[in-house]
Symmetry: C2
Subunit: 376 residues, 2 copies
């Protein structure tokens, strides 16, 4: 039964669910976005929450990046410990972490988001070192931020920031997360146009109130991937573009050849009668994020073959249709199923690369190099 334990065609053996990283694709994603920012004269402050890896962050540094975005104070501490000294925490200030924030603001050029006068007052009294503040604006995603129409509230908050000693107002920042609901490229472009228009109305209102030279920072992967005109934008902060995933593919932000991570999963059982194989690879590996296909089916990943130099094209209809803690159920056309044996490995492209990366806490490149990741 030695054929049950095929040598992986990759240059290393994989025993258990392993997040493969195609470094070539990842570098191309990084360089393309850095180039797009440079071509448009826009500051590039990529979001590190997707990969959470100092090793991958070093590839951004090689591409000229010096300033980054993170989504928690702990993540900022991790990257500060790896030499990054200009970090925006793109999350509403968590006042309970003021001690850590003070330590960090002393060490690096720290920026964070404010949307509440109470928090600004708190920072005025409790922040020891200088830090940059961005007013978080809600341009339609309805998650965090002051709704963009409320000019007076925004101007009042700017005044509070301005009078809070250690805070320096940098600009207005948004995340147009509703771009993920777009149904077409033109809808993504519409979200971007509307977002930038609204942000510039906000900036105009602040200028009229005497706040000059404020930046506009925007940040989602769909719009920054698809749009080529960044008029009215000073800084962009996409994150997921570093890997892309099935969700981004489904909304048109990327091509299949740009997806840079795949979960290698051992096949542990076959059920021919229902055209399914059982993978060692479940919710604790892929996450439980899902998307609904055009055919109306909820899926948790899609399979590709493991090949000598990585993974092949997505196999049509080969969807992970359910996940439990460690199991994934992969539906295969029965003719393809014949070619797959227990002990083989299958690559599963994730629905949401950020959550799969966070669940896996590390990467292995196609050359077998292990990349570190924050443990937070």
């Amino acid at each position: 039964m030695s054929e049950m334990l095929p040598k992986s065609s990759l240059p290393f053996d994989i025993e258990r669910p392993t997040l493969l990283l195609d470094k070539g694709r990842c570098l191309r994603n990084i360089r393309r976005m850095a180039q797009k920012a440079a071509d448009n004269g826009v500051d590039f402050r990529p979001h590190m929450k997707t990969h959470q890896s100092a090793d991958i962050a070093a590839w951004f540094r090689d591409a000229g990046v010096r300033a980054i975005t993170v989504s928690s104070v702990d993540m900022a501490v991790y990257f500060a410990n790896h030499g990054w000294d200009d970090i925006t925490v793109a999350f509403p200030v968590n006042v309970r972490e003021i001690t850590k924030i003070n330590v960090l603001a002393e060490r690096i050029d720290l920026g964070f988001l404010v949307e509440s006068p109470d928090v600004v007052s708190f920072l005025a009294e409790n922040l020891v070192s200088a830090a940059g503040a961005w007013i978080k604006i809600d341009v339609g995603s309805r998650r965090t931020g002051i709704p963009w129409r409320r000019s007076q509230e925004i101007v009042d908050l700017a005044r509070a920031v301005d009078s809070a000693g250690p805070l320096c107002l940098r600009g207005v920042l948004t995340h147009a997360g509703h771009s993920y609901q777009a149904g077409s490229l033109s809808e993504i472009r519409d979200v971007h146009r509307e977002c930038v228009g609204r942000m510039n109305e906000v900036r105009d209102a602040l200028s009229a109130a005497g706040f000059w030279n404020l930046s506009v920072s925007v940040g989602d992967t769909p719009t920054t991937s698809v749009v080529d005109d960044f008029e009215g934008v000073d800084e962009m902060r996409p994150g997921a573009f570093v890997f892309y995933d099935l969700k981004q593919l489904s909304i048109g932000s990327c091509d299949e050849e740009q997806i840079a991570v795949a979960l290698a999963c051992p096949v542990v059982a076959k059920h021919k009668e229902r055209s399914e194989i059982v993978l060692y690879g479940g919710a604790v590996h892929l996450s439980k994020d899902s998307l609904v296909t055009r055919e109306g089916e909820r899926i948790f990943g899609q399979a590709a073959r493991i090949e000598d130099d990585g993974w092949g094209p997505l196999i049509e209809g080969a969807y992970v249709t359910s996940v439990s803690q460690e199991h994934g159920i992969l539906r295969f056309r029965s003719d393809l199923l014949e070619a797959i044996s227990i002990g083989d490995m299958v690559a599963v492209l994730p629905v949401h690369c950020c959550l799969t990366a966070d669940a896996m806490k590390g990467y292995v490149t196609l050359d077998g190099d292990v990349l570190s990741m924050a443990r937070i």
Copy 2:
């Protein structure tokens, strides 16, 4: 603004999302299930995948437990390293891990699941030490296992196991995961009755073929929580009962007072106009598992107040209605919202305790003790 940083009413300070464990409730859950097993003369082999903690496993040992279930070889290694020497890996054998399996089978009394003649042949040739084999039966959940009706296939597999030198056939094992779809207590009892009936038909077929003294092992939390008559069952392996969660509450497996974990989340923003607060606590903390309420709403958690001795009752309608990587959006009735300030903490009871525990990788008891967890 010192009122913005309220002392936690718990005897320790919490800065970031923290998984609180009510040890009293957890011990009661453990003792109740151990007692139920003892009263019924059923072997109790609890599943450790839910908590993945050697500290919590020690509480099971205090309750008389000596044999456990895990869901991966790595988890078996972790518990073997903490002194457990009778472990069933309730997952189809992953042949790629044969080296680790051999090391483990040498050290402890190891059991695993088989459902494929190819895997049994592989083990016959490659397994060095003795190990127990359970034939995995599918009684209706359609995840893994041989469908219970296929007596001949099951008998053939038993013969293959019997003739494979190092393997000792222990019995037939199932997970009636479809109990999670039950709509009422009587439906849960029906699933159990049907499951046990089918498993005993399988056992009878094996007896008729000369395989005597085989055990029947069953394992889900809904049925083992609700059923009191375990006639026809030799071993039970529930896991989630150690903590319970909103999903178990929704299907009637537990009372609210049995739920033993809650995610303590700092409040980072308030949006009165839409009756929402923004929590530091998202998909990387709670997981993205969800349930649909009776009112048809998809939710990711439900809130309770943090109180001196833990958390209070669930607040009606206070649902986490969306999660992104670090954010949770919690909808509150506006009158309750008034009482909540930025910097406060809210307890969020998880939909699925196993995935929340896996995401958090650790616990803090209400006394402030930090409990370790496997890092696998």
